[in-house]
Chain length 395, copies 2
């Protein structure tokens, strides 16, 4: 048995490994980045699955790879509300946004290709791109997201195959790309004819201010491939997402899908379409925002009270995370050790650098699953952990 | 935008394209090869999904990539009944057997690698292997399945990375590999250290005689990767299957799965586990066999009465298909044209040759979806079609 080369460097996702630790009793987890399970619209989904099963001869059968036309239309409708002028022909259905990254990677990437990613990026994307034996190069980021002038330089110097970007409430930093930069990103993609994957799982989970238009809405030359997901706004255990791209690319994605999972589960498609038809999604998203907003606020207050001497962080408008940068002299791995001893978990920032440059000084803290009381209790524990390591220098 | 090379030769599956035609009203389809939808265990699955949703905080949430331990144990139990000594650690869960082929391909295949396939083979496997830029070489087949002496010669001459094989009621021929050859296949895989994918979606759908032990049961050296599926014995719209392999390979499959769909839908896993716990599967499989057996018999009678002057076919013990080889001078593409004019569909044999060697003289006829009356009516139409083309020579 001789394995393909990429498997030698393959490793499990750190965040998913930490997920296992956090399932131990008594642990307060700021690690997961998963949606709050008590907020799942259980009754509505139960009705939706029951309804889908009333037409079981269709909903339990194989279906065409492109998927249920009605669901593709509903998704196109969601995208139109997000400012993207599209129809069912522009939509490919996928088993979670992860599969979108995988299928797009398959269409473009070959050994030694270069992929541009943000300085910190979603590890799952790296997992989807790695099997193709590609190289990563990081575009610098600041508090407005990807530095598009650095991107321009890289596009002039290198010949990347793909730009991967999470412009809204990025996992891990929660930074959002500013509106002017969104426009520039779309223009650069067109100018250099390099496709951009816009990965957008947190769209809608906005707690203050107005949503930025998605990058795809500035995409005059059809170079942006938008990947959306029901995982955060409905439920991740369903595994349903979508891609918006020009129809010839959607056709190619469907051919790749035939080789991957053949199609997205028919029952799942029927059930989510039944749910969307009730018109309940916007109200549900509002419920989610009203539940996550106080958690974010509680975390920001607790950070202020516990960590102002050891780190700096930004105030996210949405998403699931606060990204903390520790001050000179503090180590995130040492802090994680102390935190785990106190039964608090988070993900150290190192896990999110695909192209090097990681320093042992950042933390990703998620406020999505613990409630306000747990957040407060978690920070009380963290305060205690901090007293153990105060002044510990990075080795 | 520059696509990867493999996409230039990529084409949609012929059978899935024909599926679209068969959805037109009035068409009698022997083309599909999909399970009979009226046999889906709808009430049982409706209960199972409702039950899974009573624990929605788990069943709608992300889960570990390896999947629900209880479901993996149930699947290991199914495999133990099939003569494979295994436990939950040997099981990887997948979104349909198609994803198993995809993930295994990803672990082994690199550009220009050689894959050995049976002379006729499942087109979906070709779709899963193609993105890796591999070459295919065909192992000869006869009415006992793959010619293992030819396989030995090829293993001596070439250095294949993988052997792909559908030993039981093969799609498209319904031929099963004989018991002695199963043993030899497992021995050859061990001797040459080349992994075998045993793709087994029709297991259990056996209408006469005793089931052959699966190739995996002869696998002393852990070279066989078994891919199973709930699509034919439960419902394909669920998209659930499994892989049985040694634990280190299961770990690697799970890393590949993290990059593909992250994990199999949690709700789906909970629901199928709820169904399996009722103990209803063996009885349901018996119901399926009792329904498919008369359809197969009707098709064999109709063939005898309509096609004995134009072709030869074997008598399948199970599965969904009869494979017809037309006599010298008859063309399957010409017959398909005439059949479609009479509103009967089938898949011409050419679609199933991955490594060349196709001649315009075979048909795959499926008896799984039409009932006995429709099969008889379909052959009445085919008889009429045949009178149109009698004596038409292959160009």
């Amino acid at each position: 048995m001789q394995f393909a080369k990429w498997t030698e460097v393959a490793q499990a996702s750190v965040t998913r490994e930490i997920l296992k630790i956090t399932q131990q009793p008594g642990v307060i987890s700021f690690a997961g980045g998963v949606p709050a399970p008590e907020l799942f619209p259980v009754e509505e989904l139960t009705r939706a699955f029951a309804e889908a099963l009333t037409d079981a001869q269709s909903s339990l059968q194989y279906t065409v790879t492109e998927g249920l036309p009605a669901l593709r239309e509903s998704v196109a409708g969601l995208m139109t509300e997000r400012g993207v002028n599209c129809s069912a022909d522009d939509i490919a259905l996928i088993h979670g946004s992860q599969q979108g990254l995988d299928l797009v990677a398959r269409l473009f990437l070959e050994p030694n290709d270069l992929v541009l990613v943000e300085e910190t990026t979603y590890h799952g994307a790296v997992l989807a791109f790695n099997p193709h034996g590609v190289r990563f190069l990081a575009v610098r980021m600041d508090d407005q997201g990807m530095d598009v002038e650095h991107l321009r330089e890289l596009l002039q110097q290198e010949r990347p195959k793909l730009i991967y970007c999470t412009p809204t409430f990025q996992n891990p930093t929660s930074v959002s790309l500013s509106r002017p930069r969104r426009q520039v990103l779309a223009q650069l993609a067109a100018e250099f004819e390099v496709p951009v994957i816009e990965d957008d799982p947190y769209f809608g989970l906005q707690y203050d201010g107005e949503p930025q238009p998605v990058v795809k809405s500035f995409d005059q030359e059809d170079q942006v491939i938008y990947v959306g997901s029901f995982s955060k706004i409905l439920a991740p255990g369903l595994r349903l997402g979508w891609v918006v791209a020009r129809p010839d690319l959607v056709s190619k994605l469907n051919i790749a899908q035939m080789g991957s999972t053949l199609h997205v589960g028919t029952l799942l498609q029927h059930a989510v379409q039944a749910y969307l038809q009730t018109g309940g999604l916007p109200g549900h998203i509002k419920t989610l925002c009203d539940a996550y907003r106080p958690r974010r606020d509680a975390m920001l207050s607790a950070l202020e009270s516990v960590m102002s001497e050891v780190g700096r962080w930004s105030r996210p408008d949405g998403g699931f995370f606060v990204w903390v940068r520790l001050l000179e002299g503090f180590s995130s791995s040492r802090l994680l050790e102390a935190a785990l001893a106190e039964k608090v978990a988070f993900v150290p920032g190192d896990a999110f650098y695909a192209a090097g440059g990681a320093r042992d000084n950042c933390l990703r803290l998620s406020f999505s699953t613990p409630n306000v009381k747990e957040i407060e209790e978690g920070f009380t524990r963290l305060r205690h952990g901090l007293t153990q390591i105060k002044g510990t220098r990075i080795r």
